[in-house]
């Protein structure tokens, strides 16, 4: 039997429900293909800095949001670890800080990732480059194949529970 064309899968967690569905899908992919699974959350400190510089955030607020984001990262990473454990799958997790698309691309290169799994990309298009989301940037610039997970009818949730 031919081996799957990927050995190291990375799922990007951003705190959204879509990214948790992507984590489930990545766990199913890794389990069925014997690939190694990584899950990474990036605390967007780049955006926090930009918001303070443009006076939309005050320092106190930046610190509060930084604490909130770190808690969010821990919560989602723990959840991904529990999901993987429920399928007896080993998972490597990390909470990084910086600009999400840059950190993810750097992680892909450093860790020989050959499949990136994302929860969503912008459903609405704009020609304005300023409105490109982090996931869109990852999709456009990833050096490896990318899977965008869509789960309109909760099929992945059912599949995960049945697997």
């Amino acid at each position: 039997m031919t081996r799957a064309p990927y050995r190291n899968i990375l799922v990007y967690l951003d705190g959204s429900e879509e990214s948790m569905t992507a984590a489930m899908y990545a766990i199913l992919l890794a389990s069925s293909s014997k690939a190694r699974l990584h899950a990474v959350y990036v605390v967007n400190t780049k955006a926090l800095g930009d918001l303070v510089r443009s006076r939309i955030f005050v320092d106190q607020e930046r610190n509060e949001f930084l604490a909130d984001l770190k808690k969010d990262a821990s919560r989602h990473i723990r959840h991904a670890e529990r999901l993987a454990a429920s399928k007896d799958l080993q998972i490597t997790t990390a909470a990084l800080e910086g600009s999400p698309h840059k950190e993810i691309l750097s992680y892909v290169k450093r860790n020989g990732i050959d499949l990136l799994v994302l929860g969503s990309v912008n459903a609405i298009r704009s020609r304005r480059d300023e409105l490109t989301s982090e996931n869109d940037r990852m999709l456009r610039t990833s050096p490896c194949p990318v899977v965008v997970v869509r789960d309109a009818d909760d099929g992945i949730w059912s599949q995960f529970e049945e697997a």
């Binding site: 930009d50 443009s54 005050v58 300023e130 409105l131 989301s133």
Partner: protein, 148 residues
């Protein structure tokens, strides 16, 4: 939800009629309240949250744009209200403001909140976009600008 997904024609007001910072926040929160059928107590709570946040430091930027915002416990999805005023309103910054983006975001999802504010900040760093938004005459004009 991204900034573009949160933009809603029903939540855009051109021109605004407010004459003060408090009135500007009330006018924009009213758009959200009308769309979601909020009670006057719920509406007042949102105004209070936004004004409390403004007291920490004005969100008025140097280019005449203000981005008041608040984290709201239990909010289902983020909302972005956009207002364009013909008259400049003192919003506590060095320059009065004529363009307002009021952002309400669920306290439970800080990433989404930051992504939306960050998109607005990037958008507003374009002088051309700001000029075009300032000169929009109707909410349809303003709405279309985000997608062109």
């Amino acid at each position: 939800m991204t900034f573009l997904e949160a933009i809603d024609k029903d939540l855009i007001k051109v021109p605004m009629t407010a004459r003060s910072a408090q009135e500007a926040v009330e006018e924009l929160v009213e758009l959200y309240a009308a769309k979601h059928g909020l009670s006057s107590a719920e509406r007042e709570k949102l105004v209070l949250l936004v004004m409390d946040r403004e007291r920490l430091g004005s969100t008025a930027m140097e280019n005449g744009i203000a981005i008041p915002h608040a984290k709201v416990e239990g909010l289902k999805a983020p909302a972005v209200m956009v207002g364009v005023s013909r008259l400049a309103i003192d919003f506590g910054g060095e320059r009065p403001s004529t363009i307002f983006f009021l952002v309400l975001a669920p306290a439970e999802n800080p990433t989404e909140h930051i992504q939306i504010l960050s998109s607005i900040a990037k958008l507003c760093s374009s002088d051309l976009f700001v000029r075009m938004l300032s000169s929009s005459k109707t909410k349809d004009d303003a709405y279309q600008l985000f997608f062109d």
